[in-house]
Structures are given as structure tokens and as C-alpha cells.
Amino acid sequence: MSIDLKTVKHISKLARISIDDEKANKLKGDLNNIFEFIEKLNELNTDNVQALTSIAETTLRFRKDEIKSENIREKILKNSPEENKDFFVVPKVVE
């Protein structure tokens, strides 16, 4: 199986990373090399193997639904790329 340029562009769209044609071509080569290496897994028959979903053999804990941090608006907004004391600012999304 090989990944073509169209697929590379489709993945980059899904991943929300814009790439130009030169980069896309380079990535196509890299990805094909990597996938060639990954295809080795097809040597193994795994029909009767249960997929491993959690390495720590524990179930997730329950906790009480309590508010532990209050008045953290300022902290949360502190690193926002565009300053505004109440909201995160993004380009207009509603016409």
C-alpha cells in the first residue's frame, strides 16, 4: 500500500496543518517509508487476541463532583493570544 499526494493533503486537512506542495511531497516520501516499516505487523495473526486498552489494570476512580477551584478566570485567560479580560478572542465565525 502506498500513500499518494492526494491522501497526504487530505490528512493535512483533517489534522488542520496547512502544507504546500513541496512539503507535501517530502511528507509523502517520509510517510511511505514509515508505513512500510509499520506493515511488519501484518506478519502476525491477531484474530484471537484481545486488544490492550489500558496498561494499568485498574478501573477509573469515582470522585465527588465538587468545585475545587474558584475564581480562576484570570488564570485561565492569562495566556490567551489576544487580550480580553472576559473571553477568548477568535476570528469572526458568524456572518
Partner: protein, 486 residues
């Protein structure tokens, strides 16, 4: 008294407790050496001014009951530090100043340690040579233009160059053990669930673990004791009774069964590594351990499995970097364009490659063929270890298939770079603890490491085996300080 910066953590804490040295004295000496060591490029952000203030504060009201009394420590720049910039080696977090502290670093400060600064690493811990960092590559103090390993390359270089007494790194596929091996230092990846992941910039959540990087095994046990803790804030943190690793440290490994897996060999592996392994085996025998040949038949499938699982988790984890709430933003005409430009300009090539792999293997129609397949093979790899550990107490292998390589040597060939982690990745996939200790040198005089792998939560046992081996190996790093400027 030997030069302060070359002292072990054990010596420094003893000297502080016996009032032979003050925290301020120690802190200033490390800062002074860092100022002369810029060529190594270990620091992304320093915290020197605040560190001196904090050391004075410690000295004015010292608490000698703490485990790291007034000890200055630099940490990998993947740990969020409250009020101190945290970049993960990426442009996309270039201006990020956390408003909270990671649990592991909080454990350090609660025991009296002082933050010296944040150490360089591969971008989002994705790399094996520290060359993917937005802040440039790190020089290995072992020799000029050699990589220090990665992703915790700034950390391994800083310990080897005596720029911090000890440090902490993170290990997703070998990022503590491989750089430790390349720099002649000790690095331990704990059992998954031992050290909290809260506040660590996430790469692959089912594999990531923080761990100590030190000059010797005793320091490693002291630091593990501080950072390993149960934490409500990490849903995969495991609540179990942790050992007093440093108190229970012992060279008595008589009767321990140590497994030697025949699959831990690669084509063209240097003879020196085979020899190093044989030496390790004979030292272990000399300490009274019993050597048992074992098989881990799926070893060769570990790397391909890792390169599905880790990028898949990374592509999900890194979806949060969209230029909206924090970090770098590149303006766009609309929201989607802003996302795409931000991520295109903010991430480096290796990170983009891995996000693309991850996005592909999780995309509609490919999930079963790749991700599900990998999760099944991961089960087989884990079962290999379960079977082996029914016969042995620990497993001994080389840490890496080569010594440190030249800067730039492998940057154009991702697969050859990935092969560096062939002996370390299986341990992350199985969630086990593993430690790398310096065990010898190759023909170029570059360090080589041996890895001891343990059962889950059996850190004490692998520390003890390493402690016994370290004593027999008697490794000397002989670093010449070639990088120092006046």
C-alpha cells in the same frame, strides 16, 4: 572537599545537613558553571535570580528533615512550572507561562529543592537526539558535535556536565534511558502509574512517565522516592505503597533470577555492545544472581506498534494547540485558516510527521487495520513479559543498539532515528519499570548503557540490581570540560 558541582546528590544533601555547605553556595556555583557552559545549549529558560533568592530564604530558616534540603535542580522543559515559562521545546508554546505546577515538580519543591531552570528537549518529547527542539540542538558533554540522546537531551547533558546535581525527564519510548546511555549517566523510567502525569505536557498518554536522571544509582533511588506518589489529579495514577527506595537500597542480589532475552540484538550491532552485555552478565553472576536465558518473541514488533500507538495518541493530545486559548497564534481570515496556519507555523517537521501518522491511522476506514492491530500486538508484547516474569525477577539488556552519534547524522532518515529506541520501547508498551546504567565505552570512548527491566512496581529490585552492577562496573566518565568559556 571535591568540587561542588561534581558532587552527588547524596554528598550535597549530607554537606548541607552537616552545615559544611549552604544552599546559596551550592546554587551560585551551579549558576556560575551554567554561565560558562552556554555552548552546550542545555537551558531553554533559566530561573537563576529567583533560585538565589530561594536559596537565601532556605539558609535563613533551614529544614534539614527534608529530602532535598536547599538543593538546586533544573528540570526538563516538559514539566509545567507555575510562573516559569514552559515550552516543551516548541515554538507553539514559546510564550506559555503556566499558572499551575506539575505534581512531580511540586513534590521536588515540597522536599526543599529549588528550581534552577528549564532544560532543552526534543519538541513535545518527539525525538531521540534533541535535534527537533525549536531552541536548537544540545551538545553532548562527552564530545563535541555529538547528540546527547533524546528526548530528555538537555537533562542528560546537564547531569553529565555537572550543571545540575540531578534532574527529572520523561520517557515515552526511551526518552530517559537512551539519553542516559549516551551520556554515561543513570536514568529510570518508573512503572506506568507511579509518577503523576498531571502538569506534564502530554505526548502519548498511555506511555508517558516521568523519572529521575542522575549521576549514580543511589541518587536515583533518592530522587524516585521524592517524585513517585499517588495523585488524585491523574486518573491513571496508582494508589499503592511505595518503598523508601534509598533506605532499602542494597547490593545484595544473591539468588535473584535475571533473564537474558535472546531477541535483544540487531543487525550490525557493534561487538562492543555484545561484549558489554556479556560483562554485565558475568558481573551479575559474580554477585550471586542466577542467569536464565529467556525469549521475548514479539520484540521485533514493538517499534512498529509504538509508531502507531504513540502518534495516534499524540495527534489527539496535540489537537489542543489551535492558537485559541494559549500559545502561539498565526492570524487568519477565518477560524479554520487560523488553526491551519497556527499549527503549520507553530509545529516543527517531526511533530507534524507524527500528527499526520496519528491522524491517518485513526481516520475512517484505517482504524482497524492500524490502531486496533497495534493494540492487539501490544497485548502480545505485554504477554511476552508476563510469561518471562513467571520465571525471572528482572531482565538485563543493552540500553541502546549504538553509542551517541554525530549531530545531523540521522536527521534525514526518520526510520533510522526511530531504531535508536528498539530496546527501550517494549518496556513502555508493557508499562514496566526500566533503568539504564553506564556500563562501559565503545572504541571512540563514548559511553554505553545496560538496561535492567523489572516487574510492575518492582523499582526497588531493579535499583538494587543496578546498585550491585554499578559497584562491579566502576564506570568513569572522564569528561574534559571542553565547552567551558571564561
Amino acid at each position: 572537599m571535591s568540587d561542588i558541582t561534581s558532587q552527588s546528590l547524596f554528598e550535597l544533601t549530607s554537606n548541607i545537613k552537616e552545615k559544611k555547605l549552604s544552599s546559596e553556595e551550592i546554587t551560585k556555583v551551579f549558576i556560575d558553571r551554567a554561565e560558562k557552559s552556554k555552548k552546550l545549549n542545555v537551558y531553554v529558560t533559566d530561573n537563576f535570580e529567583k533560585a538565589i533568592d530561594q536559596s537565601k530564604k532556605f539558609d535563613s530558616n533551614p529544614n534539614f528533615d527534608l529530602k532535598l534540603p536547599g538543593i538546586p535542580i533544573a528540570v526538563k522543559d516538559l514539566f509545567c512550572t507555575n510562573g516559569v515559562r514552559t515550552t516543551a521545546g516548541s515554538k507553539i508554546l514559546n510564550n506559555f507561562v503556566p499558572t499551575y505546577e506539575s505534581t512531580v515538580t511540586q513534590n521536588l519543591w515540597s522536599q526543599g529543592a529549588i528550581l534552577l531552570g528549564k532544560l532543552n528537549c526534543d519538541e513535545f518529547a518527539m525525538g531521540s537526539s534533541n535535534e527537533t527542539s525549536f531552541f536548537g540542538n544540545v551538545q553532548n558533554p562527552v564530545g563535541e558535535n555529538l547528540v546527547p540522546g533524546g528526548s530528555s537531551g538537555g537533562s542528560s547533558a546537564a547531569v553529565a556536565a555537572n550543571l545540575t546535581p540531578v534532574t527529572i525527564g520523561t520517557d515515552t519510548g526511551g526518552s530517559i534511558r537512551q539519553p542516559a546511555s549516551f551520556t554515561g549517566t543513570v536514568g529510570l523510567k518508573p512503572t506506568y502509574g507511579s509518577c503523576s502525569r498531571y502538569g506534564i505536557v502530554a505526548f502519548a498518554s498511555s506511555l508517558d512517565q516521568a523519572g529521575p536522571m542522575t549521576k549514580n544509582v543511589r541518587d536515583c533511588s533518592m530522587l524516585l522516592e521524592v517524585i513517585s506518589s499517588f495523585d488524585q489529579k491523574d486518573s491513571t495514577s496508582i494508589d499503592y505503597k511505595r518503598n523508601c527506595y534509598s533506605k532499602e537500597l542494597s547490593k545484595d542480589i544473591k539468588g535473584k533470577k535475571i533473564g537474558i532475552p535472546k531477541e535483544y540484538r540487531v543487525d550490525n550491532m557493534p561487538d562492543e555492545i555484545e561484549q558489554l552485555w556479556k560483562n554485565g552478565i558475568s558481573y551479575a553472576k559474580g554477585c550471586g544472581a542466577e542467569i536464565i536465558d529467556i525469549s521475548l518473541p514479539h520484540t521485533n514488533y514493538a517499534l512498529p506498534t509504538y509508531y502507531i500507538v504513540a502518534p495516534a495518541e499524540a495527534s489527539s493530545n496535540l489537537a489542543r494547540y489551535d492558537g485559541v486559548k494559549y500559545g502561539f497564534r498565526s492570524p487568519g481570515q477565518n477560524l479554520i485558516e487560523m488553526y491551519e496556519k497556527t499549527r503549520s507555523e507553530g509545529f516543527g517537521d517531526e511533530v507534524k510527521r507524527r500528527i499526520m501518522i496519528g491522524t491517518y491511522v485513526l481516520s475512517s476506514g484505517y482504524y482497524d487495520a492500524y490502531y486496533l492491530k497495534a493494540q492487539k500486538v501490544r497485548q502480545l508484547i505485554k504477554k511476552d513479559f508476563d510469561d518471562a516474569f513467571s520465571k525471572v525477577d528482572a531482565i538485563l539488556t543493552p540500553s541502546t543498539p549504538s553509542s551517541a552519534f554525530k549531530i545531523g547524522e540521522k536527521t534525514n532518515d526518520p526510520v533510522s532515528m526511530y531504531l535508536n529506541d528498539i530496546f527501550t520501547v517494549p518496556i513502555n508498551l508493557a508499562g514496566l519499570p526500566g533503568i539504564s546504567i553506564p556500563a562501559g565505552k565503545d572504541k571512540n570512548n563514548y559511553p554505553l548503557g545496560l538496561q535492567v527491566i523489572g516487574k510492575p512496581f518492582d523499582e526497588q529490585n531493579i535499583l538494587n540490581i543496578s546498585y550491585a552492577l554499578e559497584d562491579k562496573i566502576n564506570f568513569k566518565n572522564d569528561i574534559s570540560d571542553w565547552w567551558l568559556s571564561e
